[in-house]
């Protein structure tokens, strides 16, 4: 059985990418984007302390609730929408197969 899930990502130029993300490597969405060399900085390394991995969730997958840290960071990020999440806070789990996301504009 494959442990990879598919993620559909639209970059800042509107180009769609299909990403294969392993679910057994403790990877989060920001790291998957970096692994594919997409323009996601991940400046703080995944501590929810910058918003360089902000993305909009376009599908209705069940996501874990925003933590207090993520809420606080999103309250100081720009271009935030109701469906904004920090990619670094979304772990790759089998339930997220087919997740659709769009990268938020760069600050």
């Amino acid at each position: 059985m494959s442990l990879d899930i598919q993620i559909f990502l639209t970059d800042r130029e509107g180009k769609r990418h299909e990403l294969l993300a392993p679910t057994d490597m403790q990877m989060n969405l920001m790291e998957v984007c970096k692994a594919y060399e997409l323009p996601v900085e991940g400046t703080c390394g995944g501590m929810a302390l910058c918003a360089s991995c902000q993305c909009y969730i376009e599908s209705s997958h069940p996501l874990p609730e925003r933590s207090e840290d993520e809420e606080a960071m999103l309250a100081e990020a720009f271009n935030v929408r109701d469906n904004s999440r920090l990619g670094c806070q979304i772990q790759m789990i089998p339930e997220l197969n087919g997740l659709e996301i769009t990268l938020a504009p760069e600050e």
């Binding site: 703080c44 501590m47 302390l49 910058c50 809420e71 606080a72 309250a75 100081e76 720009f78 600050e107």
Partner: protein, 350 residues
């Protein structure tokens, strides 16, 4: 003109450790950093976060790591130019580099080591249409002289420590202080949150949450700002708008120094000494790139060590030198201090 042996640009963990390795080779270091204190990202972004992959430290707070490094390098008396950005570099005829900061401070050294991490920390700017137009005409990102705000109407935006601290401080100086934040919760020291609550209760500041500054208005200078709260917008008179949304690193002027850049990082020769395409300029730590590069503090330490050995050969091409172990040779500080392993005790058994 500040003169030194190795001019280090960036006072994060890699830059700081370079001072130690240089010191063992009797080379003096001076560090330039855009932040007002040493430590780089460890101090600015995550001082209270634990790091688990520093060899021999099962767990250490980033802030603690910096404190330890400062203690470790103290015998080698590093000097600093803090709160200034290195903007330009030129080479003299006698193979020296002159690095000048945005405030005009000049530094001279035969070797430059760029340990700039992800770059210079710059304020994060909210995406407001005419923000740029009012920069320094009412919009300020950094508070240099609080007196500048005396008897002015100030609006601060943000929800972290700097927004809270400056609200508390400027309340005594400005004619009015309004703090705007997108949520009711603040991420800051508990004392500061309590103090702001007290100032609000006493009617000494205006606290507007959850709300956002959505427009800037005025002619030449900023005169009013629009605050949007729950779908309703109000204009508020305002001499100064201070958005305090933290800092973000940008590679900045170093990108124009003629160095080979790849993916926002400086290409170096990792098979030898982490030298860039310009002989005498090295790049160590997160700022560099080479095949297999890993942005880890522990890799920065290694790179700093090799850079110093190469720098020594560059500065003293005729001098013979071998690697020495601190366990054997100890540490002789430039301050006259001497650390040395205790002599073995030898005692006979009769």
């Amino acid at each position: 003109m500040i003169k030194t042996d190795i001019l280090i640009i960036g006072a994060g963990p890699t830059g700081l450790f370079a001072v130690f390795e240089a010191g063992l080779l009797k080379l003096k270091c001076h560090l330039i950093d855009s932040l007002p204190m040493p430590g780089g990202q460890c101090a600015e972004i995550y001082p209270k976060k634990p790091i688990y992959d520093i060899p021999s430290h099962p767990e250490i707070m980033a802030g603690e790591l910096i404190k330890n490094l400062e203690q470790q390098i103290a015998p080698f008396q590093p000097s600093y130019t803090l709160g200034e950005n290195a903007v330009s570099i030129e080479k003299t005829e006698d193979d020296q580099f002159i690095v000048t900061t945005d405030q005009g401070t000049q530094h001279q050294a035969p070797v430059v080591a760029i340990a700039g991490g992800l770059g210079t920390f710059e304020p994060r700017k909210p995406p407001l249409e005419n923000l740029h137009k009012y920069e320094n005409k009412g919009v300020n990102y950094i508070i240099k002289d609080p007196e500048y705000y005396r008897d002015k109407k100030v609006v601060i935006a943000g929800g972290g420590d700097s927004a809270l601290d400056w609200t508390i401080f400027l309340e005594n100086v400005a004619s009015s202080v309004t703090l705007v934040h997108r949520r009711n919760e603040f991420r800051g020291a508990l004392d500061s949150v309590d103090k702001v609550q007290e100032l609000k209760n006493e009617g000494r500041i205006n606290l507007i949450t959850p709300a956002e500054v959505t427009a800037l208005k005025g002619s030449d200078l900023l005169e009013r700002i629009t605050i949007t709260q729950g779908g309703a917008s109000n204009d508020v008179e305002c001499d100064h708008f201070i958005p305090l949304f933290g800092l973000t690193p940008k590679l900045g002027p170093i990108a124009n120094w003629g160095l080979e850049i790849e993916k926002n990082a400086i290409k170096v020769d990792n098979s030898l000494d982490y030298q860039t395409n310009i002989p005498g300029i090295y790049a160590i730590g997160d700022v560099n790139t080479y095949p297999g590069k890993l942005k880890l503090i522990l890799c920065g330490f290694h790179e700093a060590t090799l850079m110093c050995q190469s720098a020594f050969k560059r500065i003293y091409p005729e001098k013979r030198n071998v690697l020495k172990y601190t366990t054997v040779s100890g540490v002789s500080g430039f301050d006259g201090s001497q650390k040395q392993a205790a002599k073995s005790t030898i005692k006979s058994i009769e």
